[in-house]
């Protein structure tokens, strides 16, 4: 690990003042410190934001608001979250290990970096780590990689489970920076890799994620998160599905569907949602809708199993909610 300075910010203004292109904010550190040890990220200074407040889990008329520094475990176990937005609680419960959930923050979770093995190995090329150096995952070890939103520059997945649940629920991120505050839909916050995979989101220099806001959605009570992974105790998703369903008398009035482990960013399936609205929910309609919504999957050499696995998982999710 390279030598770096450490400073604890006392206020957001203090944090902004300390920011340079060579600093990094530190929340739980479970991504940042890991990548610093590997030499993937080498900030000159680390600015600890844990003293900034940015806490609170609150439900009001507008919906749920969670401070960016709330720990994954606290949000996962919060009774209001579990009752009103089970998909969020379940996505968090199925994320990482208890020890990591106790350390890791919500903001840090949304900003975690990909698990692509080349990204983490500084001895290899990687466009995301070193723009222009190449993307060995295109033809290399890409079993875990994406099938949606890929480009010739990068095929890495976004690894957050929480982000998938939040994108399904039209969540917004609240940001604060030297130039003021703003709010962005989470789905738009993440960028496709295109030809600049090093830019993963819309965060401006020095900007902090201060909170996540989930709009009220009555039928989110009927929501769930399914995650297929190689190890049951803890592991990132091979494929995952977040869904919320509003179904009356067997007919779908509304639905939200987003998938993980398959996209270069959390992947919403609007075509599948559209195909289901107004339909009776049966295995056949669910399958048709999911197939329509995932027709643009582009598998790589070693993840050809993913589209089919994803479709089955999505159908399973819908039927589990509808039944």
């Amino acid at each position: 690990m390279r030598a770096f300075e450490y400073a604890a910010a006392r206020t957001p203004a203090d944090a902004f003042a300390r920011t340079t292109p060579r600093t990094a904010y530190l929340a739980g550190g479970t991504t940042l410190v890991d990548l610093m040890k590997l030499g993937v990220v080498e900030p000159d200074a680390v600015i600890d934001i844990n003293g900034l407040g940015l806490r609170g889990i609150r439900l009001d008329r507008d919906g749920l608001r969670v401070g960016a520094l709330e720990r994954m475990s606290d949000v996962a176990e919060h009774p209001v979250v579990a009752a009103e937005f089970p998909v969020v609680a379940q996505a968090l419960q199925a994320s990482a290990s208890p020890q990591i959930r106790n350390m890791a923050s919500i903001g840090g979770n949304l900003l975690q970096r990909t698990r692509c093995g080349y990204f983490r190995d500084v001895a290899t090329a990687c466009n995301k780590r070193q723009p222009g150096s190449g993307c060995p995952a295109q033809t290399g070890a890409n079993r875990g990689h994406a099938v949606f939103g890929t480009s010739a520059s990068c095929v890495a997945t976004h690894a957050s489970d929480l982000a998938v649940a939040l994108v399904a629920l039209d969540a917004r991120v609240e940001l604060a920076g030297p130039a003021g505050r703003r709010e962005v839909p989470l789905a738009d916050f993440y960028r496709l890799p295109g030809d600049s995979p090093q830019v993963e989101n819309d965060l401006r220099p020095g900007e902090l994620v201060t909170a996540v806001a989930v709009p009220r959605l009555a039928f989110a009570r009927r929501s769930t998160y399914l995650k297929v992974r190689d190890r049951q105790s803890y592991e990132f998703a091979l494929v995952s599905v977040a869904a919320a369903l509003d179904v009356r008398n067997g007919t779908v009035r509304d639905v939200r569907l987003a998938v993980g482990g398959v996209g270069t960013r959390p992947w919403r399936l609007p075509l599948a949602e559209q195909a289901l609205r107004g339909k009776r929910l049966t295995e056949a309609t669910a399958r048709q809708a999911v197939e329509a919504g995932t027709a643009d999957a582009r598998p790589l050499a070693f993840n050809a199993f993913k589209p089919a696995l994803l479709r089955r998982t999505a159908v399973r999710t819908l039927l589990a909610l509808g039944g």
Binding site: M1, R2, A3, K37, L38, Q90, Q93, A94, R115, G117, Y118, R120, D121, A123, T124, G140, A141, R143, T224, Y225, L226, K227, V228, R229, D230, R231, Q232, S233, Y234, E235, L238, A304, F305, A308, L309, R312, T313, R316, L319, A320
Partner: protein, 777 residues
């Protein structure tokens, strides 16, 4: 962290009073410290004024080294030494079986991670930064990565002077062209498994005024490390003294050298103590792994299910250096039929050099790979015959007196059919069909993937054979020094061996043996070092057998001296004396004295070796040998799995094991070994694989290399049976490896039973279970 002034020898207070002889399960003397987190491992070693060593490793799987410039690194503030192969004082070559490995690469690197240069500096970070300043110019070469091609394609570059075949071994028995009513065949592959011990490679070298060096380290075999290191250092053995520090797991991964030579070189060069500790990622590159294998198997049987022939060709990827590859080939071929009587056999095994990470010892050495293949074949054959897979195994099972395909006759109990029978009689777990089921009990667990949809139960059996101890003519022995004296009015025994306690409980077993043989309560274990004779490795399931035998022999020698003293003093015949509860007892006159009285101020100290029966090499052409292995061990597993056949997820519901251990010296430790081994086998069945791509490891972390946690580990019923081996001390039979071997095929067979799939690769992942269906869709 250990306090700065503490001595280099990691202090351990292993002196709690614990009692219990053989056949009981006393507490481990190191147990309390370990549970409390107070046990000092080799990574906790500390000496005043010590430097930190670090290793520069090759970034390329195969390259020529054109030049190395250490100047900029040496100029880095805080750096005391930068060493290359030119600084290796002795011979720059070592190896467990074949000396083919340079301590530091000279003109060529043969795998990614191969050590090229060393740095000693005042801080680990300084050392690591200095590594970045060493300038190495490489000419990158096209790596050899396909072992099967390496065996047969002469156009590939020869990675070593003798070519790319480390060992080829055929075994031929009976008629190689025999034909059979029913034939099944397939090609099986097994991924590279990591030992995944938790304590990374580490040690502390302290230079001595006599020009020698003391190394404190975690290893499996002190003396073999010492011999190889002394050769590289160009020092006589007595100047290279090794002392065991706390070992955080081994499983074979500590049998080859890692930092031993390097740490000593840096200490001798700088005249300062030097500590080296690998990080987790470096550890993945810094030790050998289990050989991946590709195995072609064909079984022929009569309509009634009697095996007629087995033909097999197996390729083992040894990676860049030989390590234990020759032994993997002999074990795999000599055990490659499984525990079955087969009249006609033709098995060929190749161990190859490639530019992949080096592979060597790992629990179940060379027996894990064929067991996965032959036990898959037995189920496939049962299916073809429409026969119960357990019955098929039973009617072909070896028993005492059977002749193996090597010509070796099994000279001790081999209750293979009985192990299966006992498993079969164990109650079956109930199917989880209550609604709503607890998701934690279903495949996917809290990932919520099923509430019963798509779930099919499967049951699979396996039974395997493993050799115990070293084979093929190796003079396999261990040495023990036992001292008996009175301390505080009480007779106290001290056992001194070089045998590595790697977590398996050998310290406890040595105490139990001494307590039993000497009838004293207090037995201390001397720290392991090279001041006593060789103990061999803590591997091949051999230490309770071989070191246990040495401790027994040394205790008997001490007892003889004691009896002679008592006989002289009390006018008894030594032959009439025995020891009971701290007293010397005569068969004619009853209790004659306390041991403490007989000893008085005297100290009795005896050193003895134990050598097991002689073994013989496999004939290089026919593979025949009158006794290739001194002992065989058998274990059987029954796995019950629930498989989500749509999403490809597996939940191992139960993993029951029956094993013959000859004699359970410590029944709790036996069960613990079986639980641990079974879990490691489960890892290989459903999750553990080092992903190697073009010679590069793609998942060198415990986030990406998955091992089972306790949450992934199913309940186990363990049925231990004891059929004494007349040739071994107390009748013991090696315990540690067999369950690792049988767990994997039992689980894969259970998944096959649930899905009907062939499953020719282990570990089995979701893509193997839904992959074929996906292709159909």
């Amino acid at each position: 962290m250990t306090d700065q002034t503490s001595p280099a020898r990691t202090p351990q207070r292993l002196d709690e009073v614990i009692t219990g002889g053989i056949g009981t399960s006393p507490l481990r003397p190191d147990g309390t410290l370990k549970v409390r987190g107070e046990f000092a491992y080799s990574s906790d070693l500390w000496a005043d004024g010590m430097l930190w060593g670090a290793t520069l490793r090759s970034p390329h799987p195969y390259a020529r080294i054109l030049s190395v410039d250490t100047g900029p690194a040496l100029a880095h503030p805080g750096v005391s030494a930068v060493l290359t192969h030119q600084d290796v004082p002795g011979e720059n070559i070592y190896g467990l079986k074949t000396a083919d490995t340079p301590a530091l690469a000279e003109d060529v690197v043969r795998y990614k991670g191969e050590p090229v240069a060393l740095v000693a500096a005042d801080h680990p970070e300084t050392a690591r930064r200095a590594l970045e300043k060493i300038v190495v110019a490489y000419e990158v070469l096209e790596p050899v990565t396909d072992p099967e091609r390496a065996a047969h394609d002469d156009t590939l570059p020869a990675l070593h002077p003798g070519g790319n075949v480390v060992r080829y071994q055929p075994i031929v028995q009976g008629d190689p062209d025999a034909v059979a009513d029913v034939v099944v065949s397939d090609v099986y592959t097994l991924g590279m498994q990591d030992q995944a011990f938790l304590g990374p490679e580490s040690g502390l070298a302290i230079p001595d005024e006599d020009g020698g060096v003391d190394l404190f380290l975690a290893t499996q075999w002190l003396h073999v490390d010492q011999r190889q290191t002394a050769r590289a250092l160009g020092l006589p053995l007595e100047k290279v003294r090794f002392t065991m520090s706390g070992v955080g797991g081994a499983f074979g991964g500590r049998e080859d050298l890692s930092m031993q030579i390097h740490c000593c070189m840096l200490a001798l060069h700088t005249g300062r103590p030097v500590k080296m500790v690998y990080g987790r990622e470096e550890s993945f590159y810094g030790h050998v792994h289990r050989h991946p294998a590709k195995m072609y198997y064909e079984h022929g049987a009569t309509k009634d299910g009697k095996l007629v022939y087995i033909k097999a060709r197996m390729y083992f990827d040894g990676g860049a250096y030989a390590s234990k590859t020759p032994v993997v080939v002999s074990n795999a071929t000599s055990l490659g039929t499984g525990p079955y009587e087969v009249p006609n056999v033709r098995i060929e095994g190749w161990g190859l050099y490639t530019n992949n990470p080096p592979c060597g010892a790992m629990r179940g050495l060379g027996a894990v790979q064929p067991a996965y293949a032959y036990e898959s074949q037995m189920d496939k054959l049962a299916k073809a015959l429409d026969m119960d897979p357990v019955l098929l195994r039973q009617i072909n099972a070896v028993s005492e007196g059977s002749t193996l395909h090597t010509g070796q006759v099994l000279d001790s109990p081999a209750p293979v059919a009985e192990l299966l029978e006992r498993l079969k009689r164990l109650p079956m777990p109930l199917e989880n069909r209550t609604a709503p089921a607890d998701v934690r009990d279903l495949p996917g667990g809290i990932s919520n993937t099923t509430h019963g949809e798509g779930v099919v139960r499967g049951v699979g059996y396996s039974v395997i054979i493993k050799n115990v101890s070293y084979a093929e003519g190796a003079d396999d022995y261990s040495t023990a020094r036992v001292r008996l004296e009175v301390i505080g009015g009480e007779p106290v025994a001290m056992v001194h061996t070089a045998a590595a306690e790697v977590g398996q409980g050998l310290v406890t077993v040595q105490q139990q043996i001494a307590r039993t043989e000497l009838a004293v309560e207090r037995v201390n274990i001397h720290p392991n070092d090279t001041n006593v004779g060789d103990a061999g490795s803590s591997s091949a399931s051999r230490q309770t057998y071989v070191t246990g035998g040495a401790v027994k022999n040394a205790c008997e020698a001490v007892r003889d001296v004691l009896f002679a003293k008592a006989a002289r003093r009390f006018g008894e015949r030594p032959a009439d004396l025995s020891l009971v509860g701290g007293k010397v007892v005569s068969s004619t006159t009853g209790v004659i004295a306390d041991i403490a009285d007989v000893l008085g101020d005297d100290v009795i100290e005896e050193t003895r070796e134990y050598h097991h029966l002689r073994t013989y090499e496999l004939d290089p052409v026919t593979g025949q040998s009158p006794r290739v292995h001194v002992q065989h061990a058998y274990s059987a597993h029954r796995a019950v799995v629930d498989v989500d056949t749509e999403l490809g997820l597996v939940k191992v519901v139960r993993l029951d094991c029956a094993q013959d251990v000859g004699k359970a010296v410590n029944p709790d430790a036996v069960v613990a070994q079986i639980q641990g081994g079974s879990t490691q086998g489960l890892g290989l069945a459903v999750m553990e694989e080092i992903q190697v791509e073009g010679g590069h490891i793609r998942n060198p972390s415990f986030t990406d290399y998955l091992i089972p946690t306790i949450m992934d580990t199913p309940p186990m019923t363990i049925d231990v049976i004891e059929r004494a081996d007349p040739n071994s001390p107390y009748g013991v039979r090696g315990v540690g490896e067999p369950p690792t071997i049988s767990a994997t095929p039992a689980i894969v067979n259970a998944i096959r039973n649930a899905t009907g799939l062939d499953l020719t690769h282990t570990p089995v992942g979701p893509e193997h279970i839904c992959g074929p269906a996906f292709a159909r869709a």
